[in-house]
Subunit: 187 residues, 2 copies
Amino acid sequence: MNSPNVSIQISSQETSEIPDSQASESLGSVPVSMSPIERFEEYLQSRGQRNTEQRRFLIERVFSHHEHFDADQLMDQLPRKGSPNYVSRPTVYRTLKEFVDAGLLRSFELNGRSVYEHDYGYPQHDHFYCTKCHKLLEFRSEAITQLLEEIAKNHKFRARGHRLTVNGICDECSKQRSRVRRSQDRV
Amino acid sequence: MNSPNVSIQISSQETSEIPDSQASESLGSVPVSMSPIERFEEYLQSRGQRNTEQRRFLIERVFSHHEHFDADQLMDQLPRKGSPNYVSRPTVYRTLKEFVDAGLLRSFELNGRSVYEHDYGYPQHDHFYCTKCHKLLEFRSEAITQLLEEIAKNHKFRARGHRLTVNGICDECSKQRSRVRRSQDRV
DNA sequence: ATCGTTGCAAACGTTTTGCATAAGG
DNA sequence: CCTTATGCAAAACGTTTGCAACGAT
């Protein structure tokens, strides 16, 4: 495999200032009253689409735990061809796209693949990406959102969201520094 | 073509606070005394690599003007097969990767392709991405860099840089809003 | 009965590779 | 000369598509 899969850890220690409550209008997430499943059903209905077994199965899996994943990782967790709830690769891709359209998931690109994460009902956050262990760590900062809103306003840019990834070395990897040391990582 | 090519405009109106001078240690760019070409020569020497005609030609092209580009866009500007300074596609890809390794270029992914931009000697900045006209606009904010450094420190994360893209609609497209209006953009 | 959805296979677009030849040092 | 770099062709990668069969409404 070329690019390593990405694992996830949540680091939710609020970083600074204002607690995350009133999610901001243009850059934050939206308060929630339905479950993802209900929300998706509504979405499908509103567009004359059908609530199939595969879609039901996938949404259940995807929202059963909070984790970042890509299409491959999701497929790996699903029943194999021949087993009861098999879902084909194209359908997985198609359905993930629908989840994004429906506002249930957000996606971003990392190492040449699309990574998905919960959006619906999940607070705005950004990521640290450890270039050593390839873990993706979440962090929240209302200050970033506010700062970006201000900057966007100054530039007359109508912001609809942002993608921010801070690259570097996570605490864990920093500590292991002198452990194995293969050849010396290019920085 | 699947994903639209990305054009670039620079919007360097400083957004707030501190002027960009002392580029910060871990997240900013580094002050410069050599030209990109000299710097690359040094890099090659230090690794026992060769300064070939193709590399010289490419670095000259890439640094002749400041613009974002992807491999395709670069290839389009280069001489065709048969012409004097033809450089093959694999070599373009290999060389771009070297430029990144050498610290001359930075790259990020957009719509499933790698986009490159000057790094060496170019100040830290981030981007607005207009989802309507697919233009990439630069903006600079020292405040973001500082905020991220603080957040990283709080999380014991050793930051080595970041990627930030604010998505939305640029001023120009906002004004044209009611002009054509194809179907109503999904938000 | 209709029309959206699925699985399959095969395509796609971007990037990478193996290898023989060319050329820098 | 020795080794790295190049160009070619072909592969690999993640993702998407056309289409016939299927299934929800």
